[in-house]
């Protein structure tokens, strides 16, 4: 019996970096702040980090919010520091915005609004995922 031992591995693109999924609204829990802290820590160690906003997490990106009105230190303003930490890949689920009747107006630049399939493809290109 002859065996050729031809193992055919499908040619997947290499999965790299950390993905952080934000799924909670900004002011009623610490999840958004915790996710931000993790992102900045990875960024400061020059690790590749991408941010994903899905479900109620999309509210974290909406413009003209003001946490001081509800006595909350507004960590959302720190989002504008992402570029200094080389965090450039910020993805938002378009369907989540549509469901919540939100415009694509964000308080930071460089946000990529993606369809469900683009969003999942971007997420699946990462090696590790943390969800908040």
């Amino acid at each position: 019996m002859t065996s050729t031992n031809q193992i055919t591995t499908p040619d997947y693109p290499k999965e790299t970096g950390l993905a952080i999924i934000n799924s909670k609204a900004p002011f009623s829990s610490n999840h958004g702040k915790d996710a931000l802290d993790i992102a900045l820590i990875f960024g400061s160690f020059e690790q590749k980090v991408s941010l994903f906003f899905q479900g109620d997490g999309v509210y974290q990106l909406i413009a003209d919010q003001d946490g001081s009105l509800v006595s909350i230190k507004d960590y959302l303003k720190t989002f504008s520091a992402f570029e200094f930490y080389d965090i450039e890949d910020i993805y938002v689920c378009q369907q989540s915005l549509v469901n919540r009747q939100l415009e694509e107006v964000f308080h930071i630049d460089g946000v990529q609004v993606q369809t469900s399939s683009e969003f999942s493809a971007a997420l699946n290109a990462h090696q590790h995922v943390l969800r908040f």
């Binding site: 909670k24 609204a25 009623s28 479900g55 909406i62 413009a63 003209d64 001081s68 009105l69 509800v70």
Partner: protein, 98 residues
């Protein structure tokens, strides 16, 4: 008799607001506070406003909505937290949906 419903969660994330509406009586009042303010943009709110046609008192804490950059609706009263005290006295019971 009458019940005051304090809605504190987003209907996009939890089932609480739907459960609240399922037990809502015609002399009840609703207060949207904290993440409950997001329900202003939920389809359940559109259908509620159509269904009750002004007979149910619907309120939102204005600072909570403003903090979240949510535009409010004309059919809904804007109140402060201090007004909730009076509302609790004007109703027989209070249910907090959180």
């Amino acid at each position: 008799m009458s019940t005051l419903h304090l809605v504190r969660q987003s209907a996009f994330a939890t089932n609480d607001f739907a459960q609240c509406l399922s037990v809502l009586d015609h002399q009840d009042s609703i207060v949207l506070m904290d993440d409950g303010c997001y329900n202003l943009k939920h389809s359940l709110m559109d259908s509620l406003i159509k269904r009750v046609d002004g007979t149910i008192n619907i309120n939102v804490i204005s600072s909570h909505a403003q903090a979240r950059a949510i535009e409010t609706l004309t059919e809904i009263n804007h109140i402060e937290m201090s007004d909730v005290v009076e509302l609790t006295f004007n109703h027989k019971k209070v249910i907090t949906w959180q």
